[in-house]
Subunit: 220 residues, 2 copies
């Protein structure tokens, strides 16, 4: 259980495994956040220890407190990193100028949200580990809320544009955006907790169905 953990080496580890490396602060922080993500995914948030994280990063125990002051702070920053990564990916698609057709934009969004990058067990584990604690930790709630709000607005705007373009009746963009976001979250949860019953392919199909029912002229 303890031996194999050092096999996944990080970018920074050189050929001479013994020499002490001195690296810029930002790089060490990133290294530790990456190790934290891997540890949460593998052992669960409640089982993560500082020793575990620093060993996974190939560093000494003291270094985590040097760069993050406390475990709580490291966990907070890790959540912020994961949340912003997901957030930025969505925003990029919804604001990007590369795609002009609104239907294509929807497709790209769906591919991102249920594609290889996001639905890795690692990412989803971290995601829901924090959600699980969010009920008791206002700090986590605040981080997720702030990130979610902007993405929700952009999604609503995209839906509103599609509704205008397709002249769809009786469709409220805000309501639909809430539903779609919830559906994606629920599918992520299904992929994480019951991977036997829900494949990625089927998750994509389900989400596409939802969009098709709402915007039949744009999807398919």
């Amino acid at each position: 259980m303890t031996d194999a953990s050092a096999t996944v080496l990080d970018v920074a580890s050189c050929s001479t495994g013994k020499r002490r490396q001195i690296r810029p602060k930002a790089e060490r922080r990133q290294q530790l956040i990456g190790a934290t993500i891997r540890c949460i995914a593998q052992h669960g948030l409640s089982a993560v220890t500082m020793q575990m994280v620093t060993r996974e990063a190939g560093l000494s125990v003291g270094i985590a407190n040097l760069h993050f002051q406390s475990k709580e702070n490291l966990l907070r920053e890790t959540l912020r990193y994961v949340a912003e990564e997901y957030h930025n990916g969505q925003i990029e698609i919804m604001e990007g100028a590369a795609i002009t057709d609104l239907g294509d934009r929807l497709d790209a969004l769906l591919d991102f949200q249920l594609g290889r990058g996001v639905t890795q067990r690692q990412k989803m584990s971290v995601w829901f580990a924090y959600y699980g604690e969010a009920g008791a930790r206002p700090v986590y709630q605040k981080i997720v809320s702030r990130v979610d709000r902007l993405a929700a607005q952009k999604l609503e705007a995209l839906f509103a544009a599609i509704i205008g373009e397709g002249d769809y009746q009786d469709v409220d963009p805000r309501e639909l955006a809430t539903g779609y976001s919830a559906l994606i979250d629920g599918l992520h949860l299904g992929l994480l907790v019951t991977p036997r019953e829900l494949t990625k392919r089927r998750a994509r199909s389900v989400a596409r169905d939802f969009l098709r029912r709402a915007f039949p002229k744009h999807i398919y």
Copy 2:
């Protein structure tokens, strides 16, 4: 932080607060599971300690190990209890003979899933606390999977019946059931993590919209 915890007294505590109570095993187990649920909701799964749970239950520290052998076992049984409670509530609605109209049955299901009983912060916190750990704990996955599977089958059957009754075209009951379940999960998550942005009323409206789009002849 420590003083106020004993204010929420349990059913069993009598007027004479001092005398040692001897109660049947099943009752003590239930008492401890209830206390565990409250502790997880208030402090988060990762912060729950045996001392915390037994104090919340108004009992001594040793008693938890007497009835559950270990903390891990107590947590496992608590998850099983919460999962089965939700599961049984759904099954009862989907199998109950009291409601004959299929549209009404759908309504009842939605009211249960997003109604007062289920959407208490307490329940949802526990629910997602375990989901968060499920990625790293096969035991939790198994408990949730087994419970989910049967409910999913019943839901699919209900949808299939509605599809037959309404002669809906191009609607796959299995796909739709997966989507609806995911939507409900996602709405629960939204109610837990971003309560400011998602009210229960709106969550119900979103779920109803989903069903209306699929079964326009049955909903509204």
